[in-house]
């Protein structure tokens, strides 16, 4: 029997992990898959036309080639950065959506002003 099975929370980690923890691990997994994408493409193919590809790499698809030799610690750091970025994006988007939401009809005359 594994030690982690003695803890209810760890045994049910798929349900009990916090949103932040899940976001971090999911970001690390995304980075791992991106690194394997870099592993799947032979950079020698792009060697001859390197500059041309670099100019047209608008989507950043080819930049993941740099991740092909990344180690676990680099992937963890990249995952943390990606997670924080997604969190900031979510908070920002929520703020914008909240600000754009129209006031309730019954509260039309009471315009809420928050400082």
């Amino acid at each position: 029997m594994l030690l982690i099975r003695h803890s209810n929370r760890a045994n049910n980690a798929v349900r009990t992990t916090s949103v932040g923890g899940e976001l971090f691990v999911a970001s690390v997994v995304i980075c791992m898959i991106l690194a394997s994408f870099g592993d799947a493409v032979d950079p020698a193919l792009f060697g001859e036309a390197g500059l041309e590809f670099a100019i047209f790499d608008f989507g950043g698809e080819l930049s993941v080639l740099a991740m092909r030799h990344w180690h676990l610690l680099q992937l963890l750091l990249a995952g943390a950065v990606l997670g924080v970025g997604l969190l900031v994006l979510r908070v920002g988007a929520n703020t914008v959506i909240k600000a754009l939401r129209p006031a309730d009809r019954r509260a039309e005359e009471k315009v809420p002003i928050r400082l």
């Binding site: 803890s7 009990t16 916090s18 899940e22 791992m32 610690l73």
Partner: protein, 301 residues
């Protein structure tokens, strides 16, 4: 792969080994307690000492063996696939109070107790040693360090590990992801497949997605709605279908590129490759629906 001492690669592999040691640590204290509970006090003390010593010795022998075994052709692939199963099992919640199948009951003699403890540790430690062997990439120093970390966990660290994973359950998820990553790197390092992967570089990405989608299925399934749960089987199934066509094309040297297809047979093969999985999925969904209806009817009656 050669790793310089304290280089980024070395520290990363060491971190992976520590994480694997934490999440795959077995409960030796429980086994020893169960086995030795009916023995006299004096013999109990001896069983605790020699049982722990035996567990450590077995772990060391297995760690040495795994280095040599993983060098044999085919074993890296088998080890990688085993790690996928181990990661999946790690993330699947177990019922609390499940019986310990490794120990039938308390032992009646010192030799019997020792034998049970050593066998139980060997069975519990196989996944741990295999994962460490895969993460260490054949580096003996890393394997020794992995062993040096797992021994204190066996002897004293159980409460610390339980407290850590109870406070941060995400460590278990991260452990599952690292096991899947180690499994993927073992599969692509397999000497028998190395030249095939060189010739089919895109299949590495397919293999990575396949391995992650199967290993981490218990995690994302817990977050999915009932209607979308068939995707857990369908998506890896489609990837296996595509991968199988690549393998078949390599074995029988068939023309699989639709841009180069010239004969009717080649076009038929292309059609089977891109559309052949549709009737299979329809059949799976139909069978699943029938099974669920039958279960619901049985529950009602």
């Amino acid at each position: 792969m050669e790793l310089d001492f304290l280089s980024a690669g070395f520290v990363s592999a060491l971190f992976a080994i520590v994480l694997i040691d934490l999440v795959l640590a077995g409960d030796n204290a429980l086994i020893i307690g169960l086995v030795a509970r009916n023995l006299p006090k004096n013999t109990q003390r001896k069983v605790i000492f020699w049982g722990t010593f035996g567990a450590i010795a077995v772990r060391a022998v297995m760690a040495i063996l795994v280095v040599y075994i993983l060098d044999l052709p085919g074993f890296m692939l088998a080890g990688g696939l085993a790690l996928v199963w181990i990661a999946r099992k790690l993330l699947t919640p177990e019922e609390q109070g499940a019986e310990n199948h490794l120990v039938k009951g308390p032992a009646t003699s010192f030799a019997g107790a020792l034998r049970t403890i050593v066998i139980a540790d060997a069975v519990m430690g196989v996944d741990n040693v295999l994962a460490i062997g895969g993460a260490a990439t054949g580096n003996v120093l890393l394997i020794v360090l992995g062993l040096a970390i797992s021994v204190p966990i066996i002897v004293w660290g159980s409460q610390l590990v339980i407290r850590l994973v109870d406070r941060f359950p995400s460590v278990v998820l991260l452990g599952g992801a690292v096991l899947a990553w180690t499994g993927y790197s073992m599969v692509v390092r397999e000497p028998l497949l190395a030249s095939w992967f060189e010739g089919h570089p895109a299949t590495r990405l397919v293999a990575a997605i396949l391995i992650f989608s199967i290993s981490l299925a218990p995690w994302y399934t817990a977050r999915m709605a009932e209607q979308t749960k068939p995707l857990v089987v369908i998506l890896p199934g489609v990837l296996v279908w595509m991968l199988a066509f690549e393998v078949v094309a390599s074995v029988w040297t068939l023309q699989m590129d639709y841009l180069r297809a010239t004969e009717t047979g080649e076009y038929m093969l292309e059609a089977a490759r891109w559309l052949g999985w549709l009737p299979l999925i329809a059949g799976y969904l139909w069978a699943r629906e029938r099974l669920m209806l039958r279960r619901a009817q049985a529950a009602r009656s």
